[in-house]
Structure formats: C-alpha cells, structure tokens
C-alpha cells in the first residue's frame, strides 16, 4: 500500500517527518518497504525563457536565456517545444535528478548553466505520463511564479511510504484506515469525510432493478447520477492517484479510484445508458465469455461471480469491468456500483485473470459501512468535479449483518497474556486512541469493535491491539516457571544422530539433497517391481520436470551428487545422507527414514592409497549394524533383482530374515567408475529390539586355535563352508574366521583355496588336545564330504 502523506493528511494531522512515521508504523506492526519523496529531484526552480535562439553549431539545440528571479542563466536546450515566453522547470547546477547530477559546462562551445526539464526527467514513472511529457520540456502555466519551487507549484511535493501490510489488515488499504491507525499511534483525531450533495427529484427507485442470484454477493448498492461532463481531473486528484500508484484517466474514472483509495471500497461506474434497467449478479456459466476493459476476451468458469444484464455479462465482479459498458468520453449518465463479494471467489478469479487494486481489497474483506460511505462520497465528488446530478434513492440488496461486534475482556486477562501489568487507565487510554467505544466496570471491559476493523473479533485480538499500542517490544522477557521435567528425544532421532556421527567418523561426508526428484528416479535402486502395488508419490503442480516425484530411495540423489562432483574433477566421493523415502500403497501414503551411503575412489589416504571396494562398504554396514547391537543377526543374500546394481556384487541385507537394506556396486552400464552403495531402511531396522548391553563372564580357560585350508569349487561361498564347519564344530567351536583366499596356479582352474582359523573354547574348563583334534577332524571330514573339498593345509 503506497501511502501519500498529503492524501492522509486530509484526515489526520501528522507532526513527525515521514521517515519517523514509517518507523513508528513498523513498530506497531505495519512494516514499510520504502519511504521516498514523490519527486526525488533536487535544486529545481521555476524559470521564464526570455530569449531563445538557435545554437550556432547545431541543427536542433537552442540557446536560452532563462530568468530564475535572482539572475538570468544561459542554458542550452534541445527540446523542440522550447520558446521565448515559456515558464519552465529549471534544474540548477548540482541538481540531483534520477538520470544523474546536472553540472554547468559548455555544450558545443556555448555555456550552459543547468537544464530545462521534461516531467519525465523528474522521476515520475512513465505510466503516469503523456507522450508530451516525455518528448518535450514541461510547459508550466503562466501563473507559475519565477524563482519558486515548481514541484510545490505543481502540487507534487508529496512523500510516499510503501507499506508491506500483513494480510489481516485489509482496513489499512484505505486512507481512512491509515488515518485511524496513525490517529491511534499519535493520539490524534480523525477528521470526518465530506459526503454532502444535492439530490434530484427523479429517483432511481422504480426505474432500476437488481437481481442477486448468488450468496457470494451479500451487499449490493446502486445509485444513479446523470449529466456528467467527462474531462481532466483536478490536479490534486491526479497527483494523489499518481502518488498511490494509479494512472489518472478522466475525472469520472479517477473519482471512482480516488474514493476506493479513501474508503477501501472498490467501486464500479457503468455507462448507465448502455447498461439498461436491470442488473443481475450470478455465478458465471462454464465457458461463458466476456470482453474485459483491457480488450481481452475472457472465458469464465462457474467459480467466477459476474455482473450481467438479461442479454450479456457486463463485468467480472470485483476484478474487472466489461468493455461494453465502460465510461467513455461521451458518457452522460452513470450507474454507481458499490458492493461486497465473497473474498475467496474474488481471490480465485483474480488469480486467474488479474490482480487489481480492486480485487486485492475484496480479497481481504470489506467493511459494509464503507460500502455505503463510498457511494455517498462518490456522489459528493461527482457533483463537485463532474457536474453530476444525483438521482434520489438507492437500489439496495443486503444480506448481511452490519452491527458492531462486542468483545468482553478483563484487565487481568490482558495482563496475563502479555505478561505485563498495565493499569485500568492505561488500557482505557489505548482503547480510546484506537477509537474503540467501551464500557469499563471493575476492570472488566465491554468493547464495541467498529466494523472497519474486520480483523478484530475476539478477546485475543483486543489483547493484540493493546499490546501493539503499548509496544510489543516493551514487554520484558521472563523466565518461565514450569515444573522441572526432562526433555526427551525419540529413539529414532537418537539413532539417526548416532549413525550420522559414526559415519562421519568413518570418513564419510554428510549431504543434504532434495526429496523431490525426476519421475524416472522414482524406484531406482530398489527391489520394487513395476507390477507391485507400491506407487510413486507425485506432486500435482511441480515446478519443473526435475522435481515431480518424491523419492523412494536416496541413492539416485547420492549418484547425482557424485556426478556433480565428478564434473568438477572430484572423484573421491564418500557420502551419506539420512532422509525420508516416500511411497503409496492400498493403505495410503508412507514415508520412511532411510540411510544411504555412496563410496567411490580413495577412502584411505597415505603413501599407499586404498580405494573403495565392495568389502569396504560391507565393513561399514557391519560396523553400523554391530554398533546398533545387531551382531550376528544379519546376513547378505546376493540378488540380481536390482537393475541399477552389478548382478554379481549386490545383495539384500536381511535382519532376522527381513529385508532391511541393499548393498552393492552400481551397475557398470550406468557409470564407468567403481561406485559402491548401500541403503538401510532405518525404521524397519530399528523396529528390531536388541539385547541389553551387559557384562559377560570372560573365560578363565585358554582357547585353542586351529587353522585349516580347503580347496573347493570357485562357486562355493565362504558362508556355505562356514555353515558346515559350524554345524560340525558344535558348541565348543566359538569362532570361525576366513583368513586367506587364493585362486591361481596352485589350485585348479575352477577352484579356490580358502583358509579358516577356528577357535575352540569351553567356558568352564581347559580343553584337551585330543578332544579338540577329534572335533577338528570331524569338521574336516564333514567339509570334505559336504563341500566336495580337499584339505590343502592344516
């Protein structure tokens, strides 16, 4: 909202400078964006061209003698319309104009001591100017006094504060609302608006009918004026519109905007002769069309409110009028519409069509009293500045309650919520400044909230008003007195924090990426099959193709991070992220915390660098699972199901036979680097309970170690041999460790040698050699038999 200081000063006196006003308004909740002079140019003076001749050395420049009162300046001027006898705006040496600073100097050998200005050079936006204002220097009326301030003469000596208002303060989208706010701020009276006019004998009543067919229009007022003269508006109206950001058009259109600015009530003036005797307000029919004022054909939908005659739609209610009934230069008779439309409907329509000064006011809600006031004020100004004759009577449709709201609140409640201790007198004084009529009895207030404050309706609103006026920042911070209770962090969050620290300690960098990804990323790096009942979650209205779908796995994100870094020649990438994966099934939407790891390149530095391989990532996986208490409970099951992973180097991670993650090498068809990834489904994982961490007796008796190497088929996994060993070893075999694997010359082509170190121990006694040898031999026998192995070494 651009507030013209001159405009608001019609209704309230302001004793402070505009900057202070802007700051003080901010402190009561009305933030300002800028505070500037309407014409920021300096050192301007009214001059009279007393001589003007062609520049001897130019085909378009003129040399002018300009009387500025104290002296006569020679100024070189290029404007086509400069001539002797003109009153002009002179920018003196040193003047600051939006285009730069004016310096005296020589122009093609002729001294020039300033500049004769066009209006466009003073800093007014071009949309407010005529071509004449842009092309040539401004011609001041002859009564302009030489040597005086031309800005003041033109009544453009205004200042504009641009407020960024909160969405609840629709009332401040009006000069009157601002006047009440400033009045409350500085304890000043608000002056009444002039609304007097003479009415004709002829009445609108009986000659015009309204047919309101929708609930979305609770108030509609129509009044008719006749015999208007369309002409230019008086200067003050034009200037105030310009200061408020609205382009002046003609006196009638300008008055409708002027009254909207004053009262906050948007108006629409129809050419009454083109409109006919009846207006209908209804919802548009789907597909109906309207040619709006801006000469655009709009196709309407059933959520738009329209104003129509029997034969055509004449306006898009609250947003824009139609072309057929617009005010033209030959318009004589006007029908004034002042109405209230449902804010939500207007918002919907305006979003589709145009956000106008009118729609932005309708959207926030209006004060019905202003709907009446605006029509009165219109008549007053039309009579005064457009020679209008006002017909008596008004056609009125009203389907809303205009009575004041009552709010009851105690002083105690106000003080309790604000945490301060105001006295009765202080609160009463604030209510008086706000011009909220009230009664107070035993520190209990009954407050009548004026209808202009549509945002105030409950106790808490009153508390806020009192707080604002007292000064929110004067409230002193207190130490809350609440019972001492321990704060808690839920177990999932604790686990996530633990895992993040652990992974950082293991040398990985934590990343943060977007949950919205490309649709094709959706089910990459998962075992979800296209025909399963699990679906991707997509947003209805994505910002771009890149961000349409919520990710299911975090691995595609990590892979893009790798690509990003690779493009910058950073090829050692060990990263992880914890975030949510999303999907939908018959039960609805789901989101689950996942931990994803991607590793490639060097992970161990030093003279001999070590690069990541499958076993590094497997080690990290084991480290994480072991540290969470799941030792010996998980297992890798090789899988070729995940098409983004190497079929020979990938596995599902199972815990107690439930899939809790994936691990593997990224498929060489996707990337040429050796990239290893892992993803753990944290919620499934952490749902498994773990044993209490508890001391276990350390065996006092020595353990016996036996090594053995088998030659077996290459395809046989260590796990399969281990299972046989474990079964044959029984209870006394306490540990099995693979310590060597060999393939090559010394074994057959499809064979490998695999060496195990076996630990035997009994917690309650020392084992004898014979005993151990017996078990050991049994193990060897079993492995030879079940795994078709030969002992290579023992």
């Amino acid at each position: 909202m651009k507030l013209s200081r001159k405009f608001v000063s019609d209704y309230v006196s302001i004793d402070v400078d505009s900057k202070t006003l802007a700051e003080d308004m901010t402190s009561i909740g009305n933030e300002y964006d800028s505070c500037e002079k309407l014409i920021p140019a300096t050192k301007l003076i009214v001059g009279e061209v007393i001589d003007c001749y062609d520049h001897p050395d130019s085909d378009h420049l003129h040399v002018c003698k300009v009387n500025i009162g104290k002296e006569v300046l020679q100024i070189v001027c290029g404007a086509p319309n400069v001539r002797t006898g003109l009153k002009v705006i002179v920018a003196l040496d040193g003047a600051e104009l939006p285009g730069g600073t004016i310096h005296k100097g020589m122009i093609r050998g002729q001294e020039s001591n300033g500049m004769i200005c066009a209006i466009s050079e003073l800093g007014l936006e071009h949309k407010f100017l005529t071509p004449k204002d842009i092309e040539g220097i401004h011609e001041l009326p002859l009564e302009a006094e030489v040597g005086t301030d031309p800005i003041r003469f033109m009544e453009l000596d205004d200042e504009v504060i641009d407020f960024e208002l909160t969405s609840n303060r629709g009332d401040l989208l009006s000069i009157l609302g601002m006047a009440y706010e400033i009045g409350a701020l500085y304890d000043k009276e608000v002056r009444p608006m002039e609304v007097s006019y003479k009415e004709q004998k002829e009445s609108i009543v009986g000659n015009f009918t309204l047919d309101i067919q929708t609930e979305n229009c609770p108030l509609f007022l129509a009044k008719k004026v006749v015999g208007v003269t369309i002409k230019e508006s008086p200067t003050f109206i034009k200037n105030r519109l310009i200061a408020s950001g609205i382009r002046p058009i003609n006196n009638v259109v300008d008055i409708s905007n002027y009254v909207m600015l004053e009262t906050g009530q948007p108006l629409h003036y129809y050419d009454a002769d083109r409109l006919g005797e009846k207006l209908i307000v209804r919802m548009a029919k789907e597909g109906e069309t309207l040619m709006t004022l801006d000469s655009q054909k709009r196709t309407l939908s059933s959520s738009d409110i329209v104003i129509a005659t029997e034969k055509e739609v004449v306006g898009l209610a609250g947003v824009m009028g139609g072309l057929t009934t617009e005010i033209e230069n030959d318009t004589k008779n006007i029908l004034i519409e002042s109405a209230i439309f449902h804010p939500t409907c207007i918002r919907k329509t305006s979003k589709k069509v145009l956000r106008s000064e009118a729609s932005s006011r309708f959207e926030k809600g209006l004060d019905p009293r202003r709907t009446y006031l605006a029509i009165e004020r219109s008549c007053h100004l039309l009579e005064k500045y457009a020679d209008a004759k006002i017909l008596s009577g008004m056609v009125e449709y009203k389907n809303l309650d205009i009575s004041d709201k009552k709010v009851e609140i105690s002083l105690e409640k106000i003080n309790q919520v604000l945490g301060i201790s105001l006295t009765k007198e202080e609160v009463s004084n604030i209510l008086r400044r706000l011009q909220f009529p009230f009664e107070e009895k035993d520190a209990f207030y009954t407050i009548t909230v004026p209808t202009r404050r549509i945002d105030v309706s409950i106790k808490e609103d009153i508390i806020e008003e009192v707080g604002r006026m007292y000064g929110m920042d004067r409230i002193q911070g207190k130490s809350m007195c609440l019972p001492v209770v321990p704060g808690t962090i839920n177990p999932l969050r604790q686990a996530k924090r633990y895992l993040r620290r652990k992974l950082a300690d293991l040398g990985l960098n934590e990343t943060l990426s977007y949950a919205l990804t490309k649709e094709e990323d959706g089910f990459q790096f998962t075992t979800v099959r296209p025909d399963s009942s699990i679906e991707k979650v997509k947003v209805l209205d994505p910002m771009s193709e890149e961000r349409t779908t919520l990710r299911y796995s975090l691995l595609p994100s990590l892979l893009s991070i790798f690509e990003y870094n690779k493009a910058r020649n950073l090829k050692d990438v060990s990263i992880f992220e914890i975030g949510k994966g999303f999907y939908r099934d018959e039960e609805g939407y789901h989101e689950e915390e996942k931990l994803a790891v991607l590793m490639t390149g060097v992970y161990r530095v030093g003279l001999k660098k070590e690069s990541v391989d499958f076993y590094v990532v497997k080690g990290i996986m084991e480290d994480l699972l072991d540290s969470l208490g799941y030792r010996h409970r998980y297992d890798l099951v090789p899988t070729a199901e995940v098409k983004e992973l190497h079929p020979g180097q990938s596995a599902k991670i199972l815990l107690n036979n439930q899939e809790i993650g994936l691990i593997g090498k990224v498929h060489p068809s996707l990337v040429k680097e050796d990239i290893y990834v892992m993803e753990l489904y944290l919620e499934q994982l952490l749902a498994f309970r773990v044993k209490k961490m508890q001391y276990k007796e350390i065996s006092k008796y020595p353990s016996i170690l036996k090594d053995v190497a088998f030659v077996v088929s290459k395809d046989l996994s260590a796990k399969e041999i281990q299972a046989v060993i474990k079964k044959a070893g029984g209870k006394l075999l306490t540990d099995i460790e693979v310590f060597d694997v060999y393939e090559g010359e010394n074994v057959g082509e499809n064979e490998k040698s695999i060496a195990f170190s076996l630990t035997f121990q009994d917690p309650s006694r020392t084992l004898s050699d014979e005993e151990v040898m017996a078990i050991f031999n049994r193990i060897i026998e079993e492995v030879e038999k079940k795994c078709k192995a030969q002992v290579r070494d023992k």
Partner: protein, 352 residues
C-alpha cells in the same frame, strides 16, 4: 699348578677373549666357555674329591672368587653390547615423521544438521520433547487445525505442493503442533519442538523449495508473551552468541494471536548497521505468538483454561548465519569441497 695360579691364567685368558667380543651373542659363548658344565671355571673344582679337607676349602673359596669375577665381567660386557645393539636397532628404526599419515579421509556433518543438533540440545536441556512429524501431511493438520480454513489467503496454492485434494507436502513444521495436541489425549501441558524439512513452491537465491524449520510449542496455564520473549532470548543467545538481543514487532499469523515477528541484533555488526542488516542493526529470524484460541480448541484444549506460545524459525538461515554461507543453495549443492569444511567440532557459542 696352584689354584691361585690357575685363577690368574683363567682371568688373563678371559680378558684376552673379551677383547675379541663384538656382540651380546658372543658374550653368551664366553659364558659357556668359562661357566658352562665343561667350562674353565667349572674345571677348577673338577677333582675336588681327591683333595684334603683343607685343600678343598681353599680350592672351593678360590674357585668361587673366580666364578664371581668371571660372571661379573661377562655380564658387564654383555650389558654393554646389549645396550649397543639396542641403540643400533633404534637408530635403524628412525622414521621420517613428516611423511603422510595413514588414515581415513575425514568425514563431516552437514551444517544444516549441526544446527538441528544444537537446537535440539538446547530445548531438551529446557525440558522440551523433540517430536517428529510427517513431511507428507494432511491439509487438515497443515492448515485447517492451525486456523487457516479452506479459502484463507495464507494458503495460496501457489506456495504449496499438493499431492491430492487431501495431502500435501507440509509448508511449515507447525503442522506437528496440531498432531501433538490431538495425540495428547490426557490434555496435559505440552513443551515440544519439531525440527524438520518443509516444502514451498519457491526457488531463488534466498529461497529453496525445500528448507528446514523448527517449530516450538508450549501449552500450560498462564503462559504469556513475556515467557515467550524470555525463552527466545535464551535461544538467541545460545544460537547466535551471548550479546544477542531480541526485539518483538507486532505481526500477523493465523495460528497465533497476538503475533510477533522476532528480530535479533545483527551478529555481523553487533547492531551498529551494515549491509547484511540493511543498516537497521536487526535481522528478522523468527515468527511467534500466543497460540490462537481456535487452534487450542481444535486441539482439544479449552482456551479458557490453557494458554500457550508457539514459534517457528528457518534452520537454513541459522546455518547460513553461523557459517557465513552466502547462498542458501550451497546447502543443497553438496560440493565435496563445501561439505569437507564442516569436519570438526563446533566452537562453543562462536559466531563472529
């Protein structure tokens, strides 16, 4: 030969032998030669049984002397060589300590998460519970129960990613307020924060379509704006430094009434005015207020009995402030050279 004479010969021989010794192992050989079963010293007492008692006594005494002397000499020599050998070994094992170490690359924690950790720790220390809420939220929890009914301007669909008519990506962590109030069926006091990711259709240098927020909610009896201010003063000091001051400005949010915007003194200039704070000395960091009675009512709390405050703030901005990161997008780009910078313990309360 007299025993005395034999003694002299042995000692002489030993001294000669000792000169030829160059290692601790050769000392062992000497021990065998002199003190072994068939050693020269042992031989002294070889034919004791043929001697008279007196002779025996004399021989015994002398041979003992020889034995002690020989043992001592050899031991001394052996110790000398052992020490010498150890010194040689140590010298040989001398390392160039300046060569590169063997280690994992140093990992790092993301600045955004570091801020979350700090925020959580602070509020847990004040007795708040840290609550998780879903990112895929219902319109009801994200808007309606926060006093933003259907059609309210504050929920302009331009800013919200809708999934369908009912579900959306939460635009604010405040949605968890509604959940916590409903979930607390006993209607006991609440003190909670909810940090997490939120989403809005908005992307430029200062806005990311995904960003972090933390929401705080306290519901109890007689909670006031002064309590809110006291809490936020402590929070600001913890996050931005001891000298930080807090300023309240009235504002508007649908879910609080009264509502305030909260500014903190600019940590760059300390409040004197600089480009970061646009010469005002203050930076807006937080929105807060007294919980709106409609929100309490919809959460099952009687506004005549209960009051509360709520606040919400952007976590990305705190990360940007603390680590002086100029562009929010850097947080989401994941350049390794960016990530690696956050590889150590945070300084205590350091901000400048």
């Amino acid at each position: 030969m007299e025993t005395q004479e034999k003694k002299r010969v042995i000692i002489e021989s030993l001294e000669k032998d000792m000169k030829e010794v160059h290692s601790s192992r050769e000392c062992q050989d000497l021990k065998v030669k002199y003190l072994g079963k068939k050693g020269l010293v042992t031989e002294l007492t070889a034919n004791m049984k043929d001697l008279s008692n007196e002779e025996r006594k004399e021989v015994g005494q002398i041979s003992n002397e020889v034995k002690n002397e020989v043992t001592e000499k050899i031991t001394q020599l052996e110790n000398h060589w052992k020490e010498e050998e150890l010194n040689q070994k140590l010298e040989k094992e001398r390392l160039d300590l300046s060569l590169p170490s063997k280690k994992f690359k140093r990992g790092s924690l993301h600045p955004f998460q570091r801020i979350i950790d700090d925020v959580e720790d602070f509020f847990v220390s004040m007795g708040y519970d840290v609550i998780d809420g879903p990112e895929l939220e219902t319109d009801e929890n994200c808007f309606q129960r926060l006093n933003v009914p259907i059609g309210h301007p504050a929920r302009d669909t331009q800013d919200t990613f809708y999934i369908d008519a009912e579900y959306l990506l939460r635009t604010q962590t405040s949605s968890t307020q509604a959940r916590v109030m409903q979930a607390n069926t006993e209607k006991t006091p609440i003190r909670m924060i909810c940090p997490g990711k939120v989403y809005r259709r908005d992307d430029d240098a200062t806005h990311s379509h995904q960003f972090g927020q933390v929401e705080g909610l306290v519901i109890d009896q007689n909670i006031s704006l002064a309590d809110l201010k006291g809490t936020l003063e402590l929070f600001a000091k913890k996050m931005l430094g001891e000298d930080t001051k807090v300023r309240f400005r009235p504002s508007f949010f649908p879910f609080t009434e009264p509502s305030v915007e909260v500014d903190v003194t600019c940590f760059k200039c300390g409040g004197k005015g600089c480009p970061l704070c646009k010469q005002t000395g203050w930076i807006e960091v937080l929105g807060a207020g007294v919980v709106h009675p409609n929100v309490l009512r919809m959460g099952g709390y009687d506004p005549e009995v209960w009051t509360g405050f709520a606040f919400g703030t952007g976590l990305d901005r705190f990360a940007m402030f603390r680590y002086e990161i100029p562009d929010i997008r850097y947080l989401y780009t994941n350049d390794i050279r960016f990530l690696e910078q956050f590889d150590r313990k945070d300084e205590e309360n350091e901000i400048k």
